[in-house]
């Protein structure tokens, strides 16, 4: 059953991820990205990372995608008209991507631990919010503070960037 669910959500993630790139309509791309992120959140939960899965749904599928959709609507982007495709450049980009893919496949294929199943967890439930919180406020306290400053700087930067300059 869990094997079936893994492949279901993996296919969902990959197919809708590909739809993001293939769709010509930006709104359709953004909605495909939401589905892809939800599939990814399910994959996180299948790895017993419940906190990360919830954060994925809240931050990505919620906040970030609303931001994307808001900007798409604000700029009133239409479906791109079909313009002249530079076949040479597209083929080059695709070739680089395929080379990268084959490289990843060969690395994963040659990695000895990649053929091992995941070790079982002793308890049926794990207290991962508590453990991540302990790591975040204990061992990783300084990076956590720095990330707070980063978010503040980003907020101020966005306000400054979107301020209309007086002419």
């Amino acid at each position: 059953m869990s094997l079936f669910l893994f492949w279901l959500f993996a296919l969902l993630t990959v197919i809708f991820g590909a739809a993001v790139v293939i769709n010509r309509n930006p709104v359709a791309s953004a909605l495909s990205l939401v589905v892809s992120f939800l599939g990814l959140a399910a994959l996180f939960m299948s790895l017993n990372a419940y906190f990360i899965g919830i954060i994925q749904v809240l931050v990505y599928a919620g906040a970030v995608m609303v931001l994307f959709l808001f900007i798409i609507m604000l700029l009133d982007l239409r479906v791109e008209e079909r313009h002249q495709i530079n076949w040479l450049a597209s083929a080059g980009g695709l070739a680089v991507a395929l080379i990268l893919l084959s490289q990843i496949f060969s690395v994963v294929g040659h990695l000895p631990i990649a053929h091992n199943a995941f070790p079982p967890l002793p308890g049926s439930t794990i207290d991962d919010v508590r453990n991540i919180g302990a790591a975040l406020f204990g061992n990783y306290n300084l990076p956590f503070q720095i990330i707070g400053v980063l978010v503040l700087v980003a907020t101020i930067g966005v306000v400054l960037l979107s301020k209309r300059e007086p002419r």
Binding site: V20, L40, L43, L47, F68, L136, V158
Partner: protein
């Protein structure tokens, strides 16, 4: 049986899709979305490795999950700044096509 390799393959495919989006598409919004896809592919492999390394207490290695938390935070900030730059650009040039923004092209 689901192995570590299966998750790594899914993560690799997702990364390559995002990479192809950055290489092939010309709309800046789609390029930003593809960047998000690539960041998430990295997150998936980090979480898979975290679950794979069970320590002596029988818990996954939470260092990787804290790292994923930081990546998600930085990515959210990055999207906000990127979209603000996009709006400023659209105001100045009325376009989001990378082909029309070639002032710095060598």
């Amino acid at each position: 049986m689901i192995t570590l390799g299966d998750y790594l393959i899914v993560s690799g495919i997702l990364f390559v899709i995002g990479f192809a989006g950055v290489m092939l598409r010309r709309n800046l919004i789609i390029i930003l979305m593809s960047l998000e896809l690539m960041l998430n592919a990295a997150n998936l492999s980090l979480v898979a490795f975290s679950r794979f390394r069970v320590d002596s207490n029988g818990l996954p290695n939470y260092n990787a999950q804290v790292f994923v938390f930081f990546i998600i935070t930085v990515a959210a900030a990055e999207v906000a700044v990127g979209l603000a730059i996009l709006v400023a650009l659209y105001r100045a040039r009325q376009t989001t096509d990378v082909k029309d923004i070639s002032s710095l092209k060598f």
